[in-house]
């Protein structure tokens, strides 16, 4: 049932606007498009000692993308930038049905596992993060 996908945790996360804004002076900014549907996530980060300090996001996308971006922003502060790639690949494996999610709250995406065409919606903010982490300091992509 698709309705299960819009469980309370996801809808609540999607409405969590705390980090849904651009940062005034980000160290890194990345915009990621989902080439198949045109949805777009922009992520601003500030860094301190190789760890992520502040995050802001701007999402033009569906509820799943909004929820994923909000969940990412809510928890990522203090994480080493170098961990972004691992985070992305663990989330990708989780959606594919292999292993636990990287963070417990991401288990709200459980109903999405069965719908392959929506995986990318959840992954997009984490892809933006992984790309940001790869950038040289002050890097920016469009």
């Amino acid at each position: 049932m698709s309705a299960a996908m819009y469980n309370e945790a996801i809808v609540t996360a999607a409405r969590d606007g705390r980090h849904a804004r651009r940062l005034p002076a980000p160290d890194r900014t990345v915009t990621c498009d989902n080439p198949l549907c045109g949805d777009r996530v922009t992520l601003d980060l500030t860094l301190a000692d190789g760890r992520i300090a502040e995050v802001g996001h701007k999402v033009r996308g569906c509820l799943l993308t909004e929820a994923a971006a909000a969940a990412l922003a809510a928890r990522i502060g203090g994480t080493a930038a170098a961990e972004a790639a691992t985070l992305l690949s663990q989330l990708r494996r989780y959606l594919a049905g292999d292993g636990p999610p990287p963070w417990p709250e991401l288990a709200m995406f459980e109903p999405v596992r069965a719908v392959r065409s929506r995986h990318e919606c959840v992954l997009l903010p984490f892809e933006a993060l992984a790309e940001a982490a790869r950038l040289p300091a002050d890097g920016e992509t469009a």
Partner: protein, 405 residues
């Protein structure tokens, strides 16, 4: 005139195969295959398979003959002057790339190709590639608030250097049908060729390329109730005779040496390699099926469904239709945005109601930009749809809005 939908559904195997509500409204993305086409495909692949054009044994000769008959059926459906004006390939995207590539040598630096803001990417990107290679520019006919080509503003974009006008015969987002006569007349004032993307129009009744006055016409089998993997490009015979090939390979040559190759006459020159034989035979069968229908009745039927949908949507204050709100000069393709609910979420929720809709940019990002929306949901009708399909959509949409908006 009323239409016996049950009788039509009986000719489409998908309906018997469904054990839950099935309101298939994604016909603009792909139609369902008709039994005649499925039979032609399966019969060839499993009982009559041989390569075409080269073998003399019974099976090969029969395949060659069937292939020629499919070409003739498609040519007749499109109104071509001769079967050999129809080039067979793997889809409309391929067809549009072929014609873009074949016309490229006619472009000089500074020449212009005119597309429109409501084109499918398949009728934009090939022209951009060709333009880049030749130093030409791509311009676009603007689109009205109703989602139609704004032909009143043609003067702004059509110029003496316009060599090619390439637009869709009907929009895959707004459903608007192009006023081809007016475009043809305008193109003639500057001596431009007129290429029509017929992917959306071709599934809705016979085409008459000669009456339209275009120079080339592309269409796709899977949207015409044939199989996936085939498409056709019609090109006016005298133009076709002069065009260079696109792909190189077997079957399109006259003589090959390592140093030099000379090419076969059309249509072979444009059909390199083993064609998608099964899908072409299915396309021939689908063209025959399409040609045999009463399109006055079916077009009326599709528009009545469109009307029912449009009036239902008009009752939802959060819904904005991208496209004509009337029924004149349009097909049964209806795209809409819902304030506060993303198109993917609309489509996902509607799936629970058995309603198959498409959400996204529909490969028409310039049009999305024009209307400043990221994505829309789209319903698109075929002869086998009925009012229950429309009502299921409207019901599911109302519930979705209640839940998510």
């Amino acid at each position: 005139m009323s239409v016996d939908v049950a009788a039509i559904r009986a000719q489409f195997p998908i309906f018997a195969a469904q054990d839950r509500p099935f309101h298939y409204l994604d016909n603009a993305a792909t139609g369902q295959i008709c039994a005649a086409a499925a039979d032609a495909l399966l019969r060839y692949e499993t009982t009559a398979r041989a390569n075409v054009k080269r073998g003399v044994y019974r099976l090969a000769d029969a395949a060659t003959t069937a292939f020629a008959e499919a070409r003739a059926a498609i040519a007749a459906y499109l109104g071509a002057a001769a079967p050999d004006e129809v080039l067979l390939g793997c889809g409309a995207t391929f067809a549009l790339n072929l014609i873009a590539h074949a016309l490229a040598p006619r472009l000089a630096p500074g020449d212009a190709i005119l597309v429109s803001e409501l084109e499918h990417h398949s009728n934009i990107v090939p022209w951009q590639m060709v333009a880049a290679a030749r130093g030409a520019v791509v311009r676009a006919i603007p689109v009205t608030e109703e989602g139609r080509l704004d032909l009143d503003r043609l003067d702004e974009v059509l110029g003496a250097r316009t060599r090619i006008v390439a637009v869709t015969h009907a929009s895959n987002v707004t459903g608007a049908v192009t006023d081809v006569a007016r475009l043809r007349a305008a193109a003639d004032t500057v001596g431009a060729l007129l290429v029509l993307d017929g992917a959306q129009r071709a599934p809705h009744g016979p085409v008459d390329v000669r009456a339209l006055g275009c120079d080339a016409y592309a269409c796709s089998a899977h949207k015409m109730f044939g199989a996936t993997g085939a498409g056709a490009l019609w090109v006016r015979g005298d133009l076709l005779a002069d065009l260079p090939p696109f792909l190189g390979g077997g079957e399109m040559i006259r003589r090959v040496t390592i140093e030099r190759t000379s090419y076969a006459p059309p249509p072979h020159r444009f059909e390199a390699g083993t064609p998608p034989i099964g899908a072409v035979l299915a396309m021939g069968a689908a063209a025959r099926w399409l040609a045999a229908q009463d399109w006055t009745a079916l077009a009326g039927h599709e528009l009545r469904l469109t009307e029912r949908l449009l009036s239902g949507l008009a009752r939802e204050p959060r819904v904005r239709v991208i496209g004509p709100t009337g029924l004149q000069g349009r097909l049964g393709v209806v795209a809409f945005a819902v304030a506060g609910v993303h198109a993917h979420d609309v489509c996902q929720m509607l799936d629970d109601f058995g309603v198959a809709l498409r959400g996204g940019h529909h490969c028409a990002q310039p049009l999305m930009d024009r209307f400043d929306v990221a994505a829309t949901a789209r319903a698109s009708f075929a002869p086998y749809n009925d009012t229950a399909d429309v009502d299921a959509l409207l019901d599911g949409l109302a519930q979705t809005i209640r839940k998510l908006a």
